[in-house]
């Protein structure tokens, strides 16, 4: 039976990808329905209660620049904020925050309920509704068919999910929640290329049973910069985290229980993330390390649950309890919930265009862990792009593609659809070849224009964006034209910073170029400093210090951009391209890149093969 109302965009799954997809599509003016198997579980942090980190913090700011919700949510519900990598160069400065995970998901739930044009429904989606090769909507377990012009699938770890604790295993998308089995087989039957991945989570501890006094405390930053440009500052009080370590005894306990590890006994087939390994993986692979660090992170303000970051495990519960108790400060700690591993299905993302739309079924988009990624931020980044594109598709507008030089979102999606992934994909700054251009401080400058073009930016945000743009420009002009005169106070300050004093007036920009000097250091010595927002100061300061590097980066970018803009005809017969080997033409045939730039990044496409393709495209273009 068909549901009485049809939708522009239907989103399956209300995790971090689905929420951004649904909200963005609704902001773009689409009629949206968001399906979840459990309304109460929307926006849940199934693993680490934290947002941001290196490269991930960059993604959150990009989601925010596109009008997304993640930044506002963590600003409002964070319980500890820290800027990482502060002594490593501005391109890798990164924000991270601990969340009160209950308040975080409440915030999301409440935002969804207030969003205009968005219906939120509890329904298990069992399959795609496809007729004569056309996507018409979705089938629900209730027997209803829902008509939708575009569909975004964000199933997380639920697609055929199975969790493992020791040698026990059960079907589940997350501890306590049933998996999505019908949709998994529907996709498989339709010929989507599916694979299996694995991820894991540590046991949660009862806060009251931890001996805090013996542990090193780690406080948050004093005046943290918010994730969202909508917020001026973070006002809530912050909670500390604590640090402890595994030891020889812990490692002994783990090694002694390997025969009961589903990872090592061969029960788990899915490939886990190398970058976020379980404690049993760490102990085996880095046997020379005497100890591994743990962060004990509070999971909420109100409840007594602690997240021990660093001991993700799927060992049996008795072993988990023993290994926890072997750790300093956790001698008496009680496990509230066991750690576990979860295996789930994903779809090979090379079957998607860089718009996240399926190459095989028009109007079908996928985002998040179903594309082989790991992390809330990676999920949100794909979700917002898929949601925007689904809405644009429905209105017949051109799709949004973010370039690798424009955002980590671009790097993330291009990597996925071009190279695919064999393990859960996590974002790193080293994945971006134009890292110096892709900083946290300029995320809005890079991506808000995309959002404006797509129609997902509110009027008040447009106004504040324009104001920030003008502020930065004003400050640029100011530091480049204004002199600063030597004074005992200024020279004392410069000496204290460890840099040479000045003897005659110099341009502000000349002092700002010095690595030791920040904009903040200078403004106290000049009248009429033209801006108030520290974020604008950071941008201008970094641009000044990195001027030469940024310029060279842009120059090398120009060379590459000509490749990015060289489109490959969708129906190009690679077999007829003279000079390509059979292997390369088959690889290209199956990936069908949109541009020459994408083609040359496909594994197996040699530089020479890309050159041959370039010659062909020029010939075709000339004909």
């Amino acid at each position: 039976m068909e549901w009485r109302k049809g939708y522009d965009v239907a989103v399956v799954g209300a995790g971090h990808a689905g929420i951004e997809a649904a909200l963005a599509a609704a902001r773009a003016g689409a009629e949206v329905v968001l399906f979840t198997m459990d309304i109460d579980a929307a926006g849940k942090m199934s693993c680490n209660p934290a947002i941001g980190g290196v490269a991930k913090g960059h993604l959150v700011r990009e989601v925010d620049a596109l009008g997304g919700e993640m930044g506002r949510a963590i600003d409002a519900t964070g319980i500890q904020f820290r800027k990482l990598n502060t002594r490593k160069g501005p391109a890798v400065w990164a924000s991270r925050a601990q969340a009160d995970r209950h308040r975080y998901s409440d915030w999301m739930r409440s935002t969804l309920s207030k969003a205009k044009g968005l219906s939120f429904r509890q329904e298990e989606i069992t399959g795609l509704w496809v007729e004569r090769g056309r996507l018409l909507g979705l089938h629900g377990i209730s027997g209803m068919r829902y008509r939708a012009n575009a569909v975004v699938i964000t199933t997380g770890t639920f697609l055929n999910g199975r969790i493992h604790i020791g040698m026990e295993s059960m079907p589940a998308g997350r501890a306590g929640d049933p998996p999505s089995v019908f949709l998994a087989s529907d996709l498989k039957e339709r010929g989507f290329p599916m694979g299996r991945l694995k991820t894991g989570t540590p046991p949660r501890l009862d806060t009251r049973t931890i001996n805090w006094a013996s542990l090193t405390e780690q406080q948050g930053d004093i005046n943290p910069t918010p994730f969202s440009v909508d917020n001026e500052c973070i006002t809530q009080t912050q909670l500390p985290c604590h640090i402890t370590y595994t030891n020889a005894k812990t490692h002994e306990i783990i090694m002694g229980a390997m025969d009961r590890s589903p990872l090592y006994a061969g029960v788990i087939e899915g490939v886990g993330p190398r970058y976020c390994p379980s404690i049993e993986d760490k102990v085996v692979r880095f046997s020379e390390k005497e100890r591994h660090q743990l962060f004990l992170e509070p999971d909420s303000r109100d409840l007594t649950e602690t997240y021990p970051n660093g001991i993700s495990t799927s060992l049996p519960l008795d072993v988990q309890q023993a290994l926890v108790n072997s750790i300093e400060g956790l001698e008496e700690a009680e496990i509230l919930r066991p750690g576990y591993a979860v295996e789930y299905d994903f779809c090979d993302p090379t079957a998607l265009f860089p718009t996240l739309e399926s190459k095989h079924l028009d109007g079908l988009y996928m985002a998040g862990q179903i594309n082989g990624t790991s992390g809330y931020e990676e999920a949100a980044a794909q979700g917002i792009l898929a949601g925007i594109n689904a809405a644009l598709k429905v209105c017949g507008k051109s799709q949004m593609i973010v370039g690798r030089h424009e955002g980590y979102i671009g790097v993330l999606i291009d990597d996925l659809v071009t190279k695919g992934t064999k393990e859960p994909y996590r974002m790193f700054t080293s994945r971006a070849e134009h890292r110096l251009l892709l900083r946290e401080d300029n995320a809005d400058l890079r991506l808000t224009p995309f959002g404006i073009k797509a129609g997902v930016i509110t009027d008040s945000r447009k106004k504040s964006f324009k104001r920030r743009e003008e502020e930065r420009e004003r400050l640029r002009v100011f530091v480049n034209s204004r002199n600063i005169t030597p004074s005992p106070l200024l020279n004392d300050h410069l000496n204290a910073l460890g840099t040479a004093p000045i003897t005659s007036p110099v341009k502000l920009v000349d002092l700002l170029r010095r690595p030791e000097v920040t904009a903040c250091d200078l403004k106290q010595f000049v009248d009429n400093w033209p801006v108030t927002d520290e974020r604008s100061e950071v941008t201008v300061e970094v641009e000044t210090k990195y001027e030469g590097y940024i310029r060279r980066d842009r120059e090398s970018l120009q060379k590459l951009l000509s490749l990015e803009t060289m489109a490959i005809p969708k129906d190009l017969d690679y077999k007829k391209v003279a000079g390509l080997t059979i292997e390369v033409s088959q690889t290209l045939e199956s990936t069908r890149p949109l541009t020459l730039g994408q083609a040359q990044r496909i594994p197996g496409v040699t530089p020479a093969a890309a050159a041959v393709l370039l010659v062909h495209l020029r010939k075709v273009g000339a004909a």
């Binding site: 980190g53 290196v54 490269a55 990482l84 990598n85 002594r87 490593k88 160069g89 501005p90 391109a91 890798v92 990164a94 660090q293 962060f295 790193f428 700054t429 080293s430 070849e433 890292r435 110096l436 690595p515 210090k545 990195y546 590097y549 060279r552 980066d553 090398s556 060379k559 590459l560 000509s562 490749l563 003279a578 000079g579 390509l580 080997t581 020459l596 040359q600 040699t606 530089p607 020479a608 093969a609 890309a610 050159a611 041959v612 393709l613 370039l614 010659v615 010939k619």
Partner: protein
């Protein structure tokens, strides 16, 4: 550009008379050619064992008329020069036999290869890198045994392997830097700046040494350009003829006989030298002679070495002194006093003028010529001579290594003096890209440019 996957053929040996001439066929139809044209002595079909030499007759299809008796060699893809099926037919020497065989192959619808096309295919299929492809061209043009040896070394990937070593070192340092940047939670401390920069400095030093080798490495490829300069009638052309061992330039007692520049390649005890004879330097009312003087000065500015010739039979003229002083300031030079069989008075004057004891030679008797050749050789190899080390032979190589070196040095400076590990990593990545371009694996556009530059294809 022509198709790159059809079958091509060409006579691979140089024109002229020789013991054998080789016809080469490459591409998917190479086996067809073997099947269609090759027969046993008794006229029956024959099958070729890959990589074995087989005696066969090349016949005209249809009437089985024998065109030539050949040794046939079949190399099956990818184990061949082009990584395609390759058939090589060793015909009888001289042009006629090879051409007749080639005609028969062309008649089967096989295309005639364009210059460099076999090497182009080897490059595009990844069989050789760009340095090797360039070496193939340079081996063909090598003038002396020493420059041949150097280019054989390049073909053997000696330079390519050094470059790959540098890339590996840069890559190893990048691994440390990138994990330091991306994993702050792992308590990774950046290795001390010294530990990181020590291997980088080693690479930078190797690059610097390599750059120096270009001063003599380019001689191996281009030859060492030497301009012979002097007043009219000091015996420049006689000297050229003597060194070239042939009557290359017209010699007469009339001053100003040489108008245009004359170039000749000589082998100076193993060093390839390009000698350029020039018009005598003097102000003249003759328009043609004036043009000759302009060309002489241009030749001087393009040469790596000036061979200044003075007449031993008379004193230096004031204008000669002035010329010599100016030329000596402009570049490196060797001064010779010609006509040593006559008188040697100017020798002392030249020594005073240029601070250099001139070499005495006689273009007539040949006295001093051995010594001059030795000097030329020494200058051509910049005192280094071909060593076991592989030099940079092309300006392209020099420029790429220089660009990579600049990035590495910038990276070292950033690591030593700032916290900007992200910018340092960028510099090292740029350096790796420059080295990739050196090997020919830059952007597709760079590769295509190289193809047009080096292989004269499809212009």
């Amino acid at each position: 550009m022509r198709a790159l996957d059809d079958t091509i053929c060409a006579v691979a040996t140089p024109p002229g008379e020789g013991g054998i001439a080789i016809v080469r066929v490459s591409g998917p139809r190479a086996l067809d050619v073997a099947r269609g044209l090759l027969r046993k002595a008794n006229g029956s079909e024959l099958s070729l064992e890959p990589r074995y030499a087989t005696l066969a007759n090349v016949v005209t299809p249809g009437n089985n008329r024998i065109i030539d008796e050949v040794i046939a060699l079949l190399m099956v893809a990818p184990r061949s020069y082009t990584r395609e099926d390759v058939l090589e037919l060793q015909c009888h020497g001289g042009r006629a036999a090879a051409n007749a065989v080639l005609e028969a192959i062309l008649a089967m619808g096989i295309r005639l290869a364009e210059p460099g096309e076999f090497t182009l295919r080897a490059f595009l299929r990844g069989r050789i890198d760009l340095i090797q492809a360039e070496a193939v061209a340079d081996i063909i043009h090598a003038q002396t045994a020493d420059s041949l040896k150097i280019h054989e070394g390049l073909l053997q990937k000696k330079l390519s392997e050094e470059v790959s070593d540098w890339q590996r070192t840069l890559g190893d340092t990048l691994v440390h830097l990138e994990s330091f940047l991306d994993f702050p939670e792992e308590e990774l401390e950046l290795q001390s700046a010294e530990a990181l920069t020590t291997p980088l400095k080693l690479v930078a030093n190797k690059m610097k040494e390599k750059l120096e080798s270009y001063s003599w490495g380019r001689t191996a490829r281009e030859g060492f350009r030497v301009a012979i300069l002097g007043l009219p009638n000091v015996g420049k052309s006689s000297l050229l003829n003597l060194l070239a061992e042939e009557e290359r330039a017209i010699v007469s007692p009339v001053a100003g006989t040489t108008r245009d520049t004359i170039e000749v390649k000589i082998n100076a005890l193993g060093a390839p030298i390009h000698l350029v004879d020039t018009a005598g330097l003097r102000a003249s009312a003759d328009e043609i002679e004036n043009e000759g003087v302009i060309r002489a000065r241009r030749a001087a500015s393009e040469a790596y070495l000036l061979l200044m010739v003075f007449d031993g039979s008379r004193d230096l003229t004031p204008e000669e002194r002035e010329e010599a002083r100016t030329l000596a300031e402009g570049g490196s030079f060797i001064a010779v006093i010609n006509k040593s069989d006559l008188d040697l008075r100017p020798s002392i004057a030249v020594k005073e003028l240029l601070g250099y004891v001139p070499l005495k030679i006689s273009a007539i008797s040949g006295e001093g010529v051995e010594e001059l050749l030795r000097l030329l050789r020494e200058r051509a190899w910049a005192g280094e001579g071909p060593t076991s080390e592989e030099p940079l032979t092309r300006l392209r190589h020099r420029n790429q290594v220089a660009a990579a070196l600049e990035r590495v040095e910038q990276g070292i400076a950033l690591l030593e003096t700032t916290e900007y590990a992200d910018a340092a990593a960028n510099e090292l990545q740029s350096a790796r890209r420059e080295l990739a371009s050196l090997l020919g694996w830059g952007t597709p556009e760079e590769i295509v440019d190289k193809i047009f530059e080096e292989f004269c294809i499809g212009k």
